[in-house]
């Protein structure tokens, strides 16, 4: 049976192609599928390998999924909500439910094959519809047009136009008004579907016009536009999307604490503040220790050198919304434990781009790569008074 154009067998037949060994790591089990009315299947998973068998004997399976074909296909192609199907009882798992859950990670999603037309199908359809697309009011009194379409999918057709009528024969007329020579059928299909411009084919030498060029250029008027049968028939309503940049100028106050931290950067100093209760150092400095709920007013200079604890590679460069500036990618964003800090008192900044592959993050008592700040020549009290950190060597 077919559901939404997909058969139950299609799902099982593609399982080997969709199998993800990394998702089946550590799983050695047999699972059964009892698809009411469509048959039974068993899959055997072992050491990253998969075997799919159509069988009536599911007795040795760790778990068996029981449901009807429509639900099974629906879940696989996203037409039926899996959670709903389970809670409503349309899907039942007999046996070890937990074990069966592991199958969810084992397969890539099933993508139904889109029925496609071959080049030959298109060529036949284009010539099959040519006469019906004839526009006598735009046609000359009399003309003979030869289409010589090359390649395995091609052929030769001749359109005879006379007194407002058009007749098409699959033959080569020796006497013609104009002849179109196209080397590859695929190229002609692309032109007819509007994917390729006819002039680019001509200039690339992939097509030629013999005879009355002017008439060839009018073919688009003599015959109505070819409609791709694969394209949806009714155009959708045009949806309008507004693209706007919302911009309202702001003044962000630093306050006395963040202000002192930023000002110190001008003097090439990194200042943290130390909680009087728990002793942790905050970077950047803040008004209170959030954990102890007390004001933090003891200032300590830390670093400027330190060790990398974590680093990540970032491959995109969103602009800074405040300045519009972007950065080159990939870049390394790091949490650095500056000298004088402990535990998680880390400082976030960037790593010199040509060194990111050499950075190792520290852990417990193992030091990460030692780094030092590279200071900007013109310092303004910004976090970019430090350009980035580089390896201290």
């Amino acid at each position: 049976m077919e559901y939404w154009g997909v058969k139950v067998e299609d799902i099982f037949d593609t399982m080997n192609d969709r199998f993800r060994p990394e998702g089946a790591k550590g799983v050695t089990a047999k699972f059964g599928y009892d698809i009411t009315g469509d048959g039974k299947w068993k899959i055997i998973v072992s050491e990253g390998l998969l075997e799919v068998i159509k069988t009536d004997d599911l007795s040795d399976c760790a778990a068996v999924m029981v449901c009807d074909g429509e639900t099974f296909v629906g879940i696989n192609i996203g037409k039926v909500d899996a959670a709903n199907a389970f809670t409503s009882g349309k899907v039942k798992i007999e046996g070890d439910f937990g074990q069966f859950g592991k199958t969810a990670k084992m397969f890539k999603k099933y993508v139904p094959k889109k029925a496609a037309m071959s080049t030959r199908d298109y060529i036949l359809d284009m010539f099959g519809t040519l006469v019906s697309r004839f526009q006598p009011q735009n046609a000359p009194q009399e003309a003979v047009i030869v289409y010589d379409i090359g390649g395995a999918d091609g052929g030769v057709w001749t359109a005879y136009i006379k007194d407002g009528k058009c007749e098409l024969k699959e033959e080569r007329a020796e006497k013609f008004t104009v002849k179109l020579e196209v080397q590859e059928a695929k190229d002609w299909v692309d032109v007819m579907l509007g994917k390729v411009d006819a002039f680019s084919l001509l200039s690339a030498g992939k097509a030629a016009i013999v005879g009355e060029t002017q008439l060839a250029l009018k073919l688009g008027e003599i015959f109505g536009k070819y409609q791709d049968p694969m394209a949806s028939g009714t155009p959708e309503q045009e949806l309008i999307v507004l693209k706007k940049i919302i911009s309202v100028d702001q003044k962000f106050s630093t306050g006395p604490v963040m202000g002192k931290f930023l000002n110190a950067l001008k003097e090439k100093k990194i200042l943290g503040n130390k909680c009087p209760k728990c002793g942790r150092i905050q970077l950047p400095a803040r008004e209170v220790c959030a954990e102890c709920r007390v004001r933090v007013d003891e200032w300590v200079e830390v670093g400027p050198k330190g060790q990398v604890r974590y680093m990540e590679y970032v491959y995109y460069a969103s602009p800074d919304p405040l300045t519009g500036e972007t950065r080159e990618t990939p870049y390394g964003m790091a949490n650095i434990l500056l000298d004088g800090c402990q535990g998680n008192d880390t400082f976030a900044h960037l790593i010199r781009r040509d060194q990111i592959d050499r950075i190792k993050g520290g852990k417990d008592d193992v030091s990460g790569t030692r780094v030092r700040p590279v200071w900007n020549e013109h310092r303004t009290g910004s976090i970019f008074d430090i350009k980035y950190f580089e390896i201290d060597e």
Binding site: L242, K244, I246, V248, D249, Q250, K251, F252, S253, T254, G255, P256, V257, M258, R286, E287, V288, C289, A290, E291, R293, R295
Partner: protein, 381 residues
């Protein structure tokens, strides 16, 4: 309301035109410490604060999830923290609901707004409107309020002279409030000569840009003795949302305020608003709103706002003894400022502006353009 919720303590900073030297965290921290000192409340997970509610607005703070920026200064680490990005009386409603539902029995409620941060208040409130229709027309809270002002003034016989009187009185009353924004003393003619923003709204008819923050500690009736000997009880709360698109509503009908008032009074068991309540704090973003909200609440007869002012209604019913929003509270927090004034008054701590013998008070707030969203709270001692 069968059960009552107590406000145990309030704290605030002084309303200021431009706290350029402070982050909003600095503003909140002072309020937080004020509450801690007054109540000695702890953050013990058994007996202390487990839930913090904050009130702020992402557009005005220019950061998404703006409450993330303040969790450390409001003690919210490692416990529940919820944000109300709406008028602060609605935030108070959220705190009330948390307690009455039994979700928690002690709530710290904090709010801030720094209007001086943005270069244009009107561009911020323009963003309250939809991007396809109202925003391109240039709608913001000022010009939409002006639309309502014009219609209301015609209906209720409120004149420029009345508006001037309201503004001058607001500033006089604010002189008695140590936390009020300090404004120049003005005369009625100054108001009438101030530049037109959107006819009939003049600059002095509209509340000035203000920075402010506050905190409140609320708790259930059972636990109140742990935090204060002088609780102020909340006995009624209701809110009502009117239509979003202006074309859908009668701008002068006061529909949502009447609806919210009626429900809040019913919960508090109040029959006669004029007799049973001794003090009213109304959220006047603009001068015309004071008589308009007075009508909505039932202090003035509908369509009689002008006469009500002439007859001395503002003083007879002790309306806006704090100076009101018109003197300067930031958007979003006008309601909290009204509630805090009720708290001081009912505790007898309102100093020079004290209303003697006040037992019940009503605070009202509005948010959105032209009084779209209304909230009303009833307090009692």
């Amino acid at each position: 309301m069968q059960k009552r919720v107590a406000i145990c303590a309030v704290a605030q900073i002084k309303n200021d035109p431009n706290l350029w030297y402070a982050r909003f965290q600095n503003m909140l921290l002072e309020c937080f410490e004020g509450i801690m000192q007054q109540t000695k409340v702890s953050f013990d997970m058994e007996k202390g604060i487990r839930t913090v509610i904050t009130c702020s607005d992402d557009v005005w703070d220019a950061r998404t999830i703006s409450n993330n920026g303040m969790t450390d200064v409001v003690g919210a680490h490692f416990r529940g923290e919820e944000k109300m990005a709406q008028e602060s009386l609605n935030g108070l409603g959220y705190a009330i609901a948390s307690i009455l539902s039994g979700h928690d029995d002690v709530i710290l409620y904090m709010g801030h707004m720094k209007e001086s941060q943005t270069e244009s208040r009107n561009m911020c409130t323009n963003l309250a409107f939809d991007p396809f229709y109202c925003r391109p027309l240039g709608m913001d809270f000022v010009n939409v309020n002006a639309l309502q002002a014009r219609a209301y003034m015609e209906k209720s016989g409120v004149t420029e002279k009345h508006l001037a009187k309201i503004v001058v009185r607001s500033r006089q009353k604010a002189k008695g409030n140590p936390f009020a924004r300090e404004n120049e003393a003005i005369k009625e003619e100054d108001v009438m000569k101030s530049p037109l923003l959107a006819d009939p709204l003049r600059q002095l008819h509209y509340y000035p840009a203000t920075d402010w923050a506050f905190g409140m500690l609320l708790c259930s009736e059972e636990r109140v003795k742990e935090f204060t000997d002088k609780p102020v009880w909340i006995t009624g709360y209701a809110s009502c949302m009117d239509s979003y698109f202006l074309g859908d509503k009668d701008l002068t009908s006061n529909f949502s305020l009447k609806n919210a008032t009626e429900r809040a009074l019913k919960k508090a068991g109040i029959k006669d608003v004029k007799k049973d309540i001794q003090l009213f704090e109304l959220c006047d973003h603009a001068a015309y709103q004071l008589p308009m909200w007075a009508e909505g609440i039932g202090l003035a007869k509908e369509g009689n706002g002008g006469k009500w002012i002439d007859d001395g209604g503002m003083d007879e019913f002790n309306v806006n003894m704090s100076g009101g929003m018109l003197n300067g509270n930031p958007l979003l927090l006008g309601g909290a400022a009204r509630a805090i004034e009720c708290f001081y008054q009912l505790r007898g701590e309102a100093g020079k502006r004290q209303v003697k013998g006040a037992k019940r008070a009503l605070a009202q707030s509005t948010y959105g353009a032209a009084g779209q969203h209304q909230a009303v709270v009833i307090f009692e001692v």
